[in-house]
């Protein structure tokens, strides 16, 4: 199927009418977005519909890794620029992936909570909406980040990256870590080693402490100017220091 973007005015309209559409979000569908050609912009790019149709989850198994892999492959060579366009994800979410989104982020019973919940997970809000909150775009962005690690397969990278919410957040929210491919790859390699052994590095306090150590070094040395070996030596030091126990 063709990759489609919701038209900007339709996006605004949909976002402003969450309350009006609560029943559709809970039990119905937004098929009119597929039928009414004034709702979307067709592009020349394709989305692999077969792969998209395999994306599902239930309450007991979110299938995060599989769904990241499926969506990333389904979207083909989607550019970073377009991946940062909320209209793309919101269209896909309200059409092909509505049921998945409902299952992954169940809509609260209470209307007020439901409206906020839908705005957060069914649309894109704020700085980290793409990679953290939107039910669909987060899958693609996590896969895109992990795909930068050349030393591991995408599945291996995702396995480490998605293992622990705090670890993932600590990485994403530090631009010096998540944007710098060498630093990001080196950290994921460390996590991968730990994953195969005792998973010690996934301990919340331990990982935070290691990131704090890295921040301290990054405060006086320009990590971007350092080569891979030097970064690895620095990380060895950061990850070798045990966290200080709170007194």
């Amino acid at each position: 199927m063709k990759m489609r973007f919701l038209k900007a005015d339709r996006y605004r309209e949909l976002h402003s009418q969450i309350e009006l559409n609560l029943d559709l979000y809970r039990n119905g569908n937004f098929d009119f977005l597929n039928i009414d050609t004034s709702c979307y912009i067709d592009t020349v790019r394709n989305v692999d519909e077969g792969l998209v149709s395999q994306i599902y989850c239930d309450q007991d198994n979110h299938r995060e890794i599989q769904n990241c892999l499926l969506l990333y492959e389904a979207m083909g060579d989607l550019s970073l620029y377009h991946a940062r366009d909320e209209r793309l994800w919101v269209y896909l979410l309200h059409t092909q992936l509505l049921q998945y989104s409902r299952n992954r982020w169940p809509i609260p019973q209470e209307d007020d909570k439901a409206i906020k919940h839908i705005s957060l997970h069914f649309f894109v809000n704020g700085v980290r909406g793409f990679e953290r909150d939107n039910a669909i775009s987060r899958l693609w962005w996590m896969a895109s980040l992990c795909n930068r690690v050349k030393e591991l397969s995408l599945e291996e990278s995702l396995t480490c990256f998605l293992e622990q919410y705090d670890v993932r957040t600590s990485i994403i929210e530090r631009p010096n870590t998540s944007q710098n491919t060498i630093v990001f790859s080196s950290i994921l390699l460390k996590l991968s080693e730990s994953f195969k052994k005792d998973k010690k590095f996934f301990d919340r306090e331990f990982f935070r402490s290691a990131m704090k150590n890295l921040n301290l070094i990054g405060g006086t040395k320009l990590l971007s100017a350092l080569d891979k070996n030097t970064i690895n030596l620095i990380l060895d030091d950061c990850f070798s220091v045990s966290p200080v126990s709170p007194s």
């Binding site: 970073l80 620029y81 940062r84 700085v127 631009p175 491919t181 100017a225």
Partner: protein, 277 residues
Amino acid sequence: MKFDRHKAFPYPVLRPYNDDFIDLEFQINAEWEVEGETAKVKIDYAISSEDIKQTIEHGNAVYISVISCRDTYTRNNVESNTPYSEAIFSVNDLRGEVRIDSYVVVVNDVPFFQSPDLNPEFGLDPIKYGVGDVMAQDETYVYYFNKEHFKPVESVFDLVIKASQPKGQWTIGFEGDHIQIEVNPLMKASIDSARNSKKNRYILLNSIYSVAVTQAIQLLKENPDDFSENTWAKVIFNQVNTHNCNLENDPAYLVAQKLLRFPLLLLENFIFKGGDQ
């Protein structure tokens, strides 16, 4: 490593708002050129410390700019031992805020750095810089990147219905990302229908749109900061740069003509001369 004027380094760093080096400066100038699918950034470095310059000339330090885009997680370094460097990006890899952080960074240990320009509080002993240490840092240069900003100015206008509008009157809303031209419902239908013809579009460009662009430019001349976050303003600012206009000194109506590529010519060529047949 973000620029932070309050940050304390364990060694002297030449940077703005700081007197580790007395009366010296390190500054960059960056210019973006966007053509087709590529965005090229050209960076000039100016440093007035002869001792840091020498360290660079001896191969022990380099100019480095880290170009990063938070939205797309794109980050590239450009490194040079001359006071100029450039980098080329795909426009598909940049979106939103693009930052350029520039430094002089040590690439080989500098165990005995001395300079008469150092603040005397560092004492007389030579300074030791290690690999990765920063000798100079400039403030972050921020550019807001959006393909839409390179689109024609006309692309930021939306014709919208305002039910209470008298039929012949139109008003302009500048609050959103796009400029809203508000017309009566019947007029909206009439203009929508008229826009199917190229001639009519040229007439609209010379009437409503010319006036609206002029008004938008006037607002930006008077209060540039009030609209700095609105997409329409970013598009206009970008087009003002592209067309080498001087927003401060040029009259708004002249800037508008340049940005709309002199729409009177469209009337002459396609309507007065009976073109568009």
